[in-house]
Symmetry: none
Amino acid sequence: MPSADNPRRSERSRAAILQATQELIREQPYGKISIEGIAARAKVGKQTIYRWWRSKGALVVDALHEQNAAGAQEAMALPDTGDLAADMRLVLRATVDEFTSPDFEPLFRALSIESLQDPALQQQIVERIYRPQFEFVAARFRSAQDAGQVRPDADLAVAFELFMAPMFYRWQSGAHTLTHDHADAVVDLAMRALAP
Amino acid sequence: MPSADNPRRSERSRAAILQATQELIREQPYGKISIEGIAARAKVGKQTIYRWWRSKGALVVDALHEQNAAGAQEAMALPDTGDLAADMRLVLRATVDEFTSPDFEPLFRALSIESLQDPALQQQIVERIYRPQFEFVAARFRSAQDAGQVRPDADLAVAFELFMAPMFYRWQSGAHTLTHDHADAVVDLAMRALAP
Amino acid sequence: MPSADNPRRSERSRAAILQATQELIREQPYGKISIEGIAARAKVGKQTIYRWWRSKGALVVDALHEQNAAGAQEAMALPDTGDLAADMRLVLRATVDEFTSPDFEPLFRALSIESLQDPALQQQIVERIYRPQFEFVAARFRSAQDAGQVRPDADLAVAFELFMAPMFYRWQSGAHTLTHDHADAVVDLAMRALAP
Amino acid sequence: MPSADNPRRSERSRAAILQATQELIREQPYGKISIEGIAARAKVGKQTIYRWWRSKGALVVDALHEQNAAGAQEAMALPDTGDLAADMRLVLRATVDEFTSPDFEPLFRALSIESLQDPALQQQIVERIYRPQFEFVAARFRSAQDAGQVRPDADLAVAFELFMAPMFYRWQSGAHTLTHDHADAVVDLAMRALAP
DNA sequence: CGCTAATCGAGACGGTACGTCCCGTCTTCAG
DNA sequence: CTGAAGACGGGACGTACCGTCTCGATTAGCG
């Protein structure tokens, strides 16, 4: 994700703003983060932020994308070993790792907060984050259906959520700790539910 | 839930504040709600709010409780007909209704936003909202285990989330609409996963 | 000045309130003093203050009187040695001492502030503080007129102010320091002005 | 007195704030005046006031200067007719007029209240208001000394106060009304005191 | 290769809300 | 009924940020 479409736009500012946003979100509760604080940290005028981002939420989305671009995007690298349970175990463990990581977790948190407050942003997130992730997994599900590991009439959207929702729910509710063991247990149950 | 423990506390103010909070949360985006606005609507001094509630989040928790106290608390009235699937269908449909209701949904939304911003509040919500709900359902699960409808070694916490998490996830992600049909589909899958 | 007219009135409270008022006025800038602070220091309910004093100004007036009652009231003890200049030198030096004293000065200051804000209080001060002081000095002036030390047609009010106003002015303007030498210089000039 | 030293500063706001301050001080008791009220009257954000003035007192000083700048500054236009008594009569009568004017009096009052509460402001007033006025009069005194109308060894500061203090004292004590006749009487006495 | 228009940093501006302090009144309970 | 305690509705405080708006000072790309 280089600069943007506008050639005049300062790449230096763009990067500094997203960098500052990531850092601040990691350093303090999201409620304490202000555009002014981001501008100051990035040594940028406030207007430069307002010029290129609609809202703090949009800024958070981009900051998260920037971070994913930097990292390996493991969560999406979904292998097909022929064993769906094994493959999903990898996916869910990676999810646990992200929900646990001090680098990612605060950004997810920020994103959740913003998406709950702004329906437009919520739809944007569905399309830019949720849907791609779903499509990757759905493809793997179809392959598993062909291999007879999943009932052919299964609703893939519901199936997808059967795996992911429990992880998300635990994270957000804070009632239990997220562990690889828990991920494995969820995969076991979900596989049983989807078995032909 | 009458006044509180302090006999000096004005019941009139307490009720007016919670009432105003509920109304305002329903009328406008949560981000636009201010303590000042609540105080004005309740015809109360700001200090009276700050005296009895730590934060806007704590106020939202109480407002939700007040609303539940007023209503029938159907979600918790969990029958035991001997047919777990049927009973859980009732619970999940009631959940769908709440996530859909213009009376409840904005308050849940507000609660989620606040709990994501304040770990202390999150734990309070776990204990005052999540845990009681879980215990009700867990009791029903144990009865179903006795009746041989659920595997005796099932982790009831995971089982609980297998039902509830997909509903919550759909609501928060906004990727799909919540319907009774979807609730039924989730119950079907979850029952399959838990079957002995 | 014992309790007051009401026999039910608690002498203990009355004294504690005036005591607290004096102390606080000496300890901090007058603008920071609150009724609430006085009540707390005096271990008294706020209502007890509001019951017996119209305003903070009235409280200050009483606090000053209480202090004068305790002290020697030297400023008023005006001797008649036959030498008006010498006698006035005593009066003006005593005035300098009061304007300089850490016990009195803050109370005068408080009184000035209040009287500038409340015409009713200002008149009360004229009658309870200014006028008695003037009468004492005026009596001495008349005696000096009889002795031929002061012009018989002199307006005693103007004469009085000729002595006192320069002291007051220096104190309030803060442009110069108040000293006994200055008091003597003022007496010299005023005597010259009033000489037959 | 145009804007200030900072070119970014809005002249429109500066003028509106001082204007509003003057108006409000004239319209109501000083104790009822709030920064908030001034900001509202001036259609200005509170921060704009706090940005450029340390305190309400500093604002009052500037408001008074603004008013003087607008008017003729008669009090300072001190003629030298060769007759000191006549010249001083003009000055003191002008002073009476100011202490009597509904335009000036409330501002002086406000200034006195503030200066009594803030030593830093008091010193500022000495330098910006008291001292210039003194210097004008002192120059006239020196000219009178050259003309043999005033004792050559007179302390000009004390002499200045001999004229001004009685006016100020009457005004602040509220014991007597201020009139031109009184001003003339004071000049007579002071001239007698200073005569060679 | 200089012109000019967009972009930049900086930060003042009119506002809204914050959380706190105090006002003067009212309510409760103890003596 | 007085008095200590302190909750109450309310007004203002001084601060933090909002999103908009000038200011020069770069800084491209086009002419």
